[in-house]
Amino acid sequence: MIWQALTLQLGYNATLVAIGATMLGIAAGVTGSFLFLRKRALVSDAVSHATLPGIGLAFIVMVALGGEGRFLPGLMLGAAVSSGLGLLVIGWMIRRTRLTEDAAIGAVLSVFFGAGIVILTVIQSMQAGRQAGLESVLLGSTAGMLRADALVIAAGGALVLLLVMLLRRPMLAVGFDPDFAAVTGTNVARIDLAMMGLVMAVTVLGITTVGLVLIVALLIIPAVTARLWTDNALRMVGLAGLAGGLAAFVGAAVSATAPALPTGPIIVLASFVLFVLSIALAPARGGVALLLRQMRFRRRVHRRQGLLALAAGQPIHEPFTLTLLAREGMARADGVPTEAGRIAAAKALLDEARWAALRGDPAQGLTASRYDGLTPIETVLTPDQIAELDRHLPRPQAVI
C-alpha cells in the first residue's frame, strides 16, 4: 500500500494531491532558505499562526454573502490579510517599543491565534459552521481534498518558485550582509517585504495540507538540513527545495494510504528524518564529521604544545598530552623525550621561531595571518623564502 502510494498508483486524486504537496514542499524549502539566511526563521511561526483569524473571518463573510464557506481561494485571501497584519504589528512593535523581536513574534503569534480560536467558536455556533470542519486548518488534511484545491496549491507553489528565482540575487545579498546590500543600492526594506510576502504565500498555500501549526517546520527544517551539506548559498537553496519536496511527497503519499494519518505531522517527521540523516552523514558540516574534526584538532593542539614543552625542557602536566606523545613514540610515559621526540620537538621549535619572525615582518601581513599555531611553515612558504627567513632568526637553533 505504501509502495503503491509512493509510486503514485493510488489513483488520479491521490496523485494530484501528492504533486500539489510536493510543489508546496519545494516552494517552502526554497523560500525558507532565504528566511533562514536572514536569521528570521521563527517569524514564519507568527505568520502561520496569525492566519487563523483571517481564515475564520473569511469563512463568515463568504457564508454571509451566501457562498460556500470552504472556498479555498477565499480562505487563502483572508489568511493572507490577517498574517500580513500580524507582520505589520511585529514590525511596529520592534520599531516603536523597547520589545525585542522574540517577544513581538510570541505576542502576535499567541494573540492572533487566540482571536482566531474565538472566531472559530463563533463559526461553530453558526448554522453553516457545524459541518465546516475548519479545525482541519490547524493540522492539515489531504483527505477529501478537492481536485481544484490541489491544482491551486500546485500552481501557487510553482508561482512562488518562479518569484524566488527572480528575486534570488537581491535576497541572497540581503541575507548575507544587509548593510553592504543597502550601500550597493539594494532596497533592503523592499526585499525583506518581498521575502515575507513569499513566506506568507507558502504559509497560505500550506494551510490545508500541513496545517498552520506545523507549516513553520516545512520552512525551517529543509533549510537547516541543506545548510549541513554545503557552504554555497545557492546550492543550499536548491538542496532545501529538494529536501522539502521529498518530505512533502512522502508525507502526502503515506497519509493517502490511511485517512486517519494527518498529513502535516507526517511531512514534518519525514523532513526531520532527512535532517537527522544529514547530521550523521553530511561531510562538510554534519555533526559526526564535526566531532571527528574537533577531536583531531584537539590532538594536534596537544601534540604541538607537548613538543614545544619538550623542546623547552619543561615537564608536561596534562595527562592527555603525555598519553598522546607516548603513544606516538615521542616521549616515555614519565615525560622524558625519546630520540624521535627530540627531533620533532626541535622541528616544532624551529617552526615556531620562523613563524614568529614571519609575523614580526610588516611586509608579510597576509601570509602571517595564516598562523594558527599548528600549520607547518613549509605549507605557506617556499624553501627559498624559508631560507631567507632563517637568515633573520635571532639565534641559530641549537636547542637540543
Binding site: A103, G106, L109, A115, L139, V216, I220, L261, P265, L290
Partner: protein, 308 residues
C-alpha cells in the same frame, strides 16, 4: 445568580486567573533573557510529553502527565542546544526544528493510539477547554464551606494552585541569581553562580507552568500568558520587582476580563452561544499589551544614551 455563578463560573474563572499568573511570573524572566520563544517551544512539546505519559501508564492522571511534560520540556531544551551546536545554527532555527518535530510526533502518537475513552485530543491540546472545568457539586457560595461539595471541585483547581505556589516560591528564592544572570551572565558566572543551572531551572518552571495551565487553556494560549502580561508590564516600569507585580496584575485582568467577555459578551450582543474563554483571554491580554504599547510610560528604549 449566586448559585449558578459558583457552580458554572467560579472555578473556571479561578483556574484561568491562577494559570495566567503562573505563566506570567516566569514569563518576566523569559522576556528579559530574550527567550520569549522558549515559552513557545515548551508549550508545544507539552503535548508529546503528555501523550507519552498516557501511553506508558494507560490512564489520564495528573502526576505522570506532569512528569511526562516536564521530561519532554527537558528533552526539547537539550535537543535544541544539541542541534544549535552540531548544526551551528541560530537558536531560533534550532527551536523551529525541534518543537515542530516533537509536536508532530505528539499529534501522530495521539491519532494512532486509542484515546477514545479519555479526554485527550489535539484541539483540546491547542486551546484547552476552560468552560468545562465546572463545579457541579456547588449549590451556592455556602458550598465553599461544605466539605462534601469541596471534594467535588475540579481537580484542575488545586493542581493549578499548587503549581502557582511552586512557581512563585521558586522565583522568590531564585530572584537574585536570576536577576544577575539575566542582566550579565558573564559576571554572574564569575561570582560562582551556576548560570546554566539557573537558566535550566527557569525553563523547568516555565514547563511546570505550561503543563499545569495546559489543561485549562491549551498550549497556544499559554504562550500569550508567558509573553503578553510581562511585555505589557515592561511598558509600565523600569524596575524588575515592579514589572513582576504589574505582570501579575495584567495577568489577572486578562483572565477575568477574558472569561467574562467570552461567557457573557456574545449574550450581550444577542448571540446564543458563548465563545472560547481561553481564546478570549489571549485576545484581552493582547489588547492590554496594545494599550500599554501606546501609552505606557516606559514603552520606549531609554533614549540613545546607550550608544555613547
Amino acid at each position: 445568580m449566586g448559585a449558578e455563578f459558583v457552580a458554572l463560573s467560579l472555578t473556571p474563572l479561578l483556574i484561568g486567573v491562577l494559570a495566567a499568573v503562573t505563566c506570567a511570573l516566569p514569563g518576566n524572566f523569559l522576556l528579559l533573557r530574550r527567550q520569549a520563544l522558549i515559552g513557545d517551544a515548551i508549550s508545544h512539546v507539552v503535548l508529546p510529553g503528555i501523550v507519552v505519559a498516557f501511553l506508558l501508564t494507560g490512564r489520564v492522571a495528573a502526576l505522570p502527565m506532569m512528569l511526562g511534560a516536564a521530561g519532554a520540556a527537558l528533552v526539547s531544551v537539550v535537543l535544541i542546544e544539541a542541534v544549535r551546536r552540531t548544526a551551528r545554527i541560530e537558536a531560533g532555527a534550532a527551536m523551529g526544528v525541534i518543537f515542530t518535530t516533537l509536536f508532530a510526533a505528539g499529534v501522530l502518537l495521539l491519532e494512532q493510539s486509542d484515546t477514545s475513552g479519555v479526554h485527550l485530543d489535539v484541539e483540546h491540546a491547542l486551546y484547552g477547554n476552560l468552560e468545562s472545568l465546572i463545579w457541579l457539586d456547588a449549590t451556592g457560595w455556602a458550598s465553599l464551606l461544605d466539605p462534601v461539595a469541596l471534594s467535588g471541585l475540579p481537580p484542575e483547581l488545586p493542581r493549578m494552585a499548587v503549581a502557582l505556589l511552586i512557581v512563585a516560591l521558586s522565583i522568590a528564592v531564585m530572584w537574585r541569581p536570576l536577576a544577575i544572570a539575566t542582566f550579565d551572565e558573564g559576571f554572574a558566572a564569575t561570582l560562582g553562580l551556576p548560570v546554566r543551572a539557573i537558566g535550566l531551572a527557569l525553563v523547568m518552571l516555565a514547563a511546570l507552568a505550561a503543563v499545569a495551565a495546559f489543561d485549562a487553556v491549551g498550549s497556544i494560549i499559554v504562550i500569550a500568558m508567558f509573553i503578553c502580561p510581562p511585555a505589557a508590564a515592561r511598558m509600565m516600569t523600569d524596575r524588575l520587582l515592579a514589572q513582576a507585580a504589574w505582570s501579575v496584575g495584567f495577568a489577572i485582568l486578562s483572565a477575568v476580563l477574558g472569561y467574562v467577555l467570552a461567557g457573557y459578551g456574545p449574550l450581550w450582543l444577542g448571540f446564543a452561544n458563548s465563545v472560547s474563554a481561553a481564546g478570549m483571554i489571549a485576545t484581552v491580554s493582547g489588547l492590554i499589551l496594545g494599550v500599554t504599547m501606546m501609552i505606557g510610560p516606559c514603552r520606549r528604549r531609554a533614549g540613545g544614551a546607550t550608544v555613547h
